[in-house]
């Protein structure tokens, strides 16, 4: 019963870890990686005690390794590339033009 529970937990968290590791939210994959790894180890220990073989453990560890590799790789190679700013630049220019017109109508009394 406990073995089944940890197999399900390990499998679900390992899948979640891989999914998160692929997305930009890769740092969020750390928690499921740990849970999946611990579950995998526990399943392994129970299996050894019961002297049975469970193939799922291999899949859990494989996914943990993939997720861990991706998370570490991404944290060491942060991509700080700016997205498309054309629209922002356009709004910037439009705002500047409108602002000059608006400023013409504002009473500026201070000494410059």
């Amino acid at each position: 019963m406990i073995k089944k529970l940890f197999i399900i937990l390990g499998f679900v968290t390992a899948i979640l870890a891989v999914v998160l590791a692929v997305t930009p939210l890769s740092t969020l994959a750390i928690a499921p990686i740990i849970v999946a790894f611990v579950s995998g180890v526990l399943v392994l220990l129970v299996s050894r005690k019961e002297k049975t073989k469970t193939k799922t453990i291999q899949y859990i560890f494989l996914m943990v390794i993939i997720a861990l590799f991706l998370t570490i790789y991404k944290s060491f190679n942060p991509t700080s590339e700016i997205g498309d700013t054309k629209q922002l630049e356009q709004r910037d220019e439009e705002n500047l033009e409108n602002s000059i017109k608006t400023l013409e109508g504002i009473e500026i009394e201070e000494d410059f």
């Binding site: 969020l28 922002l88 400023l103 504002i106 009394e109 201070e110 410059f112």
Partner: protein, 259 residues
């Protein structure tokens, strides 16, 4: 005690008559904004603060522009393209026109404040987008205090304070008009601290920020700002704590400085 009160008075008098000795036209500060995820800081957006000259038929003003742009990898999740600008007197940094043009994950909002300092009045225009793409406007007149500024001009105004005359623990209040409401921000000088930044190791003035009567910024010592302890007083590092987490702003580059 008397000496302390006198020093405090000197500090506040210096503040109230501050002239622009710090900000030059053509200054460009670039920051990287990060957010705490699972205990790790993740770079989310680039923040730029730029100044330029704007000429009208009657006067020459300084344009203070702040932009926030999410990094490419985040655009699919939550695309931010924010533009904040304030048109100020280059000598006193008194604002005359403020604009906030924000686009955050499909949400669009435009705010404009036209200042009438003589009448202590701000004419505000709010523009929002409906779901079908059409916009609607809301015009309002807001009574303001003589010292009320917008968020952008306040950010630059803080750099003009004579912090070197202040003692740790001294504080100053600023009134900021945001979403047609006046908010009081308290700035407290904590002391000097040397920190390592991308533009070198800098001795800084460490300041704590808090908003009176609002819980937008959490804690007393979680919202901090480090300004270089030199004539430029560049904001090099900032930390903030809000309801949904905490983050930081780190300087990447600083060009066109006055000193």
């Amino acid at each position: 005690m008397k000496q302390n009160i006198l020093l405090l008075l000197v500090f506040f008098t210096a503040v109230s008559t501050a002239q622009n000795k710090t900000i030059a036209v053509g200054e460009k500060l670039v920051y990287s904004a990060s957010y705490n995820m699972s205990g790790l800081m993740t770079n989310i957006a680039q923040v730029k603060m730029e100044t330029s000259e704007v000429k009208t038929s009657k006067s020459t003003l300084m344009r203070l522009k702040c932009t926030a742009t999410t990094y490419k990898k985040w655009d699919g999740f939550f695309k931010i393209r924010d533009l904040y600008e304030s048109y100020v007197n280059p000598k006193t940094l008194t604002p005359y026109l403020y604009k906030r043009d924000i686009s955050e994950g499909g949400y669009y909002k435009f705010m404009q404040y036209k200042y009438n300092h003589k009448a202590k009045l701000v004419t505000s225009l709010k523009r929002k987008k409906r779901k079908d793409g059409t916009t609607w406007d809301e015009n309002k007149s807001v009574k303001i205090n003589p010292s009320t500024k917008d968020i952008v001009s306040t950010l630059y105004y803080i750099r003009n304070l004579d912090i070197h005359k202040a003692n740790p623990g001294d504080q100053q209040n600023f009134t900021i008009l945001f979403d047609n409401q006046e908010n009081t921000i308290t700035l407290r000088y904590i002391g000097k601290e040397t920190i390592a930044t991308k533009i070198g190791k800098k001795e800084c003035y460490k300041l704590a920020l808090s908003i009176k009567g609002s819980d937008a910024l959490k804690g007393n010592n979680n919202n901090l700002l480090w300004l270089t302890a030199d004539a430029n007083k560049i904001p090099v590092y900032a930390t903030f704590k809000i309801a949904v987490g905490n983050g930081e702003l780190k300087i990447e580059s600083a060009t066109g400085l006055k000193h």
